[in-house]
């Protein structure tokens, strides 16, 4: 059955897009590879930025300037302005649908300071901000009777070419995980909201296992452009052994970073790229690094950071009220993604993107904490609105042809002499070591060679599980394949950007080179490899 709008992904951006598209009168269907409340958005802790000035003086202009500064010259100022100007309205809307934000004593939404912010600007709900926003959005979707189909993994977008030569989207093919069948969903427009690709760092990522860039890889295969893929943010404070996130709000509240000697070594509230590099430098010297929030006191920790205490106890066996928390930086957010215009549309007509999978160019080379939840709301709404309108106005001169998806058939022919899980772990280690906080030509090249080699052997790494019903071995293999495709693109972009900017730090080109590189990198496919070009 055809719908006007299809939304792929049911995190914050997907659900906001669905709600807004529904408001335009379009029929909306949401497909998710998990369930609607299980996405990466649930993990956002710190808050959502809006210059409400509830706690101390603040302004939209300050929010704009902080965001631009952190972006290191490659954010689009108009997009940043739209983001920051829309922020107060976005938070008011969230409050109007029932999100339970923490409050100040004078009955306003509470706000706290995150890194790189000149004022306490992040509206929060304890350290469950993402969870509470996501669940309230879900409840709103139920109220609007929006159809959500669970456990469908994206295979590919279906595209057609019009008589005038324009490529347009007409639906998707997905794997129904429960039945093992390929299903086709047709629609006039499609919104991709499938999240980022931090899981290429595997165990060195703070992200949920599903952040495998499925929608980004599929959009690229469908003809969309990808931009700024080399910019990957490392969060300074992940738990050392498990890479589980300890929110920036712990430092915002006055937490210290200490080395083994118990010395502070950096400004804890600088933007994430700087803090992560400072920690990395300490660790290179052989120091262990700890987060110290003991002086904040038990009452404060239990009120503002209850989740952090629970996680530190569970995963590191330390109680942050009395002990130091061992940490390391871990891959956290991918600034790059699907290239979109100011209407959230990709190069493929009718294919829109929002959230972490899209590059609206508001984060540039380094995202500010508290801006990603904001991005979901502002650009999720924009994508939803425009996809709804597009669906209403779209008239194609001929019925689109539905291509058959052949991927599962191909995978069935693959052998499993190599365990792809081992290769997935290898890629994670290679990326953390060579494509992490500190990069240089030789190691990037060797990483690229290793990724290409593993990719070439993909047909020897097929899933061992041949079951049709709920085959997670197959789903994880498809995710691995998507990550491999993106891995080559990330590396090609990282190699070509011979400068240091924000999260992309090259020890062999330590300076920011505005003459050559104050531009966005756009990845494209050549016959046997990927190429990069640059655009303003």
């Amino acid at each position: 059955m055809k719908s006007d709008v299809l939304v792929i992904g049911a995190g914050g951006a997907g659900l906001v897009a669905a709600l807004r598209a529904h408001e335009t009168g379009a029929s909306v269907r949401v497909l998710t590879k998990e369930y609607a409340t299980r996405s990466q958005t649930s993990m956002a802790q710190g808050g959502i930025n809006a210059a409400l000035a509830n706690v101390s003086e603040d302004s939209v202009e300050a929010h704009v300037q902080n965001t631009l500064k952190s972006a290191h010259g490659i954010a689009n100022e108009a997009a940043v302005r739209l983001l920051c100007e829309s922020a107060p309205e976005a938070v008011v809307w969230l409050e109007s649908i029932g999100v339970c934000f923490s409050r100040t004593k004078d009955a306003k939404i509470a706000q706290r300071t995150l890194g790189g912010a000149s004022a306490p600007r992040a509206c929060y709900a304890q350290d469950y901000t993402g969870l509470k926003i996501l669940h309230t959005l879900y409840d709103r979707c139920l109220a609007c009777q929006i159809e959500i189909l669970n456990e469908r993994t994206l295979l590919d977008f279906i595209t057609n070419t019009s008589l005038t030569g324009e490529v347009f989207v007409s639906g998707v093919s997905v794997l129904n995980i429960r039945t093992g069948d390929v299903e086709i969903y047709e629609s006039a427009s499609v919104i991709v909201a499938t999240g980022g690709y931090s899981r290429i760092y595997e165990k060195h990522s703070t992200n949920a296992k599903g952040s495998s860039g499925d929608g980004i890889a599929a959009a690229f295969r469908a003809g969309a452009s990808l931009s700024d893929m080399e910019f990957i943010q490392f969060h300074p404070t992940a738990l050392r052994d498990s890479s589980i996130l300890i929110s920036e709000s712990a430092r915002g509240a006055g937490g210290y970073l200490l080395n083994s000697k118990g010395e502070r070594f950096t400004n804890e509230l600088a933007p994430r790229d700087e803090v992560a590099r400072a920690i990395h430098e300490e660790m290179k010297k052989g120091e262990e690094v700890f987060l110290d929030i003991r002086h904040l006191g038990e009452a404060f920790i239990d009120e503002e950071l209850p989740q952090e205490r629970k996680l530190a106890k569970l995963y590191e066996n330390v109680d942050p009220v009395y002990e130091l928390i061992p940490i390391k930086p871990a891959a956290h957010y991918t600034m790059g993604g699907i290239e979109v215009g100011s209407d959230s549309q990709t190069k493929v007509n009718g294919l829109f993107a929002a959230g972490e999978c899209a590059n609206h160019k508001v984060h540039g080379a380094n995202r500010l904490g508290g801006n990603s939840l904001l991005e979901l709301i502002v650009f999720g709404a924009q994508a939803g609105e425009n996809a709804g309108k597009y669906a209403k106005n779209s008239k194609h001169t001929h019925e689109p042809i539905v291509q058959k998806n052949t991927l599962l058939g191909e995978i069935q022919e693959f052998t499993s002499e190599i365990n792809f899980y081992e290769m997935r772990a290898n890629i994670g280690d290679i990326f953390y070591e060579k494509v992490g906080i500190n990069r240089e030509e030789k190691s990037l090249k060797s990483a690229l060679q290793e990724v290409v080699k593993i990719h070439k052997n993909l047909s020897l790494m097929g899933p061992k599980d041949k079951s049709k019903i709920y085959n997670t071995n197959l789903v994880e293999f498809i995710e691995f394949k998507n990550l491999l495709e993106l891995g080559e693109i990330i590396l090609t972009c990282a190699l070509q950007r011979k400068e240091s900017r924000g999260a992309h730090f090259r020890s062999d080109f330590g300076a920011q080179d505005d003459a050559l590189f104050k531009v966005h990198s756009i990845a494209y496919r050549e016959k046997t490899a990927y190429g990069v070009k640059y655009e303003d």
């Binding site: 299980r38 669970n150 061992k464």
Partner: protein, 241 residues
């Protein structure tokens, strides 16, 4: 260390696995088995930090999040109850989740210009911590006799909205949960004991009952006393009209 996992594809069977891991979460152990020993082992997971609600299973009969349970020798791991089993530890949550819609667990209308105090926020702070992991649903004995029971997480969600200062028709919300709702709960407290977020649906249901009574509703099991208009059956089992 040895653990036992209930497997299911065509028939139920308990399989034993040996792993050499210390102080590991169950999710880490399941991942180790899947990636190194048996790629067919099937389970759900997501954030591994207790907020996405994907990995709830039963260990030695009690509901836990796999990512929050430290494995012990001889642990027996089984899927959740009261939900259709798909494969191994994976269950189909669609019907359970559909009770949120049936219970109309949302704010009736968009609110405008309502000031919320710290006290207002505290009224449903803990209920809005729910991660929909389904542990309470699995632990609830009512489903054995009434599979249409709206259930613990949906009713907690209704309470979360009923008690919110932004809700403009709490009476309507209460109306929705009178049938297969608050009065069907046995107050056994099983849901409270297994909730990873320390929510007590039982307590929320009691509060909903008391609000219901204040709004003029009553426990239907008592509605026939004194020959009321409740319908149903009289003391001797004969229909009373």
């Amino acid at each position: 260390m040895k653990i036992k996992i209930q497997r299911y594809s065509t028939k139920l069977e308990v399989k034993e696995y040996e792993v050499s891991m210390q102080d590991a979460t169950l999710l880490a152990v399941l991942n180790e088995i899947k990636t190194a020993q048996d790629a067919t082992l099937t389970f759900a997971s997501g954030c591994r930090s207790g907020v996405c609600g994907s990995c709830s299973v039963r260990v030695n009969g009690s509901e836990v999040l796999a990512c929050a349970h430290k494995v012990k020798e001889d642990d027996l791991v089984e899927p959740l109850k009261n939900v259709p089993l798909i494969r191994d530890l994976v269950v189909d949550m669609d019907k359970a989740l559909s009770f949120n819609a049936k219970a109309k667990a949302w704010q009736s209308a968009l609110s405008q210009n309502i000031t919320l105090t710290q006290e207002d926020e505290k009224r449903n702070e803990i209920q809005s911590d729910c991660i929909l992991c389904g542990s309470c649903y699995s632990a609830c004995p009512v489903y054995a006799v009434n599979e249409e029971f709206l259930g613990p997480f949906s009713l907690t969600r209704v309470w979360r909205y009923v008690v919110d200062a932004r809700e403009n028709s709490p009476e309507e919300k209460l109306q929705t949960i009178q049938t297969n709702g608050v009065w069907d709960c046995t107050l056994c407290n099983g849901c409270t004991l297994v909730c990873p977020q320390n929510i007590s649906s039982k307590a929320d249901i009691e509060k909903l009952r008391s609000k219901s009574v204040m709004a003029g509703h009553s426990d239907p099991s008592f509605s026939n006393f004194g020959g009321g208009f409740g319908g149903g059956f009289g003391f001797d089992g004969s229909p009373s009209f």
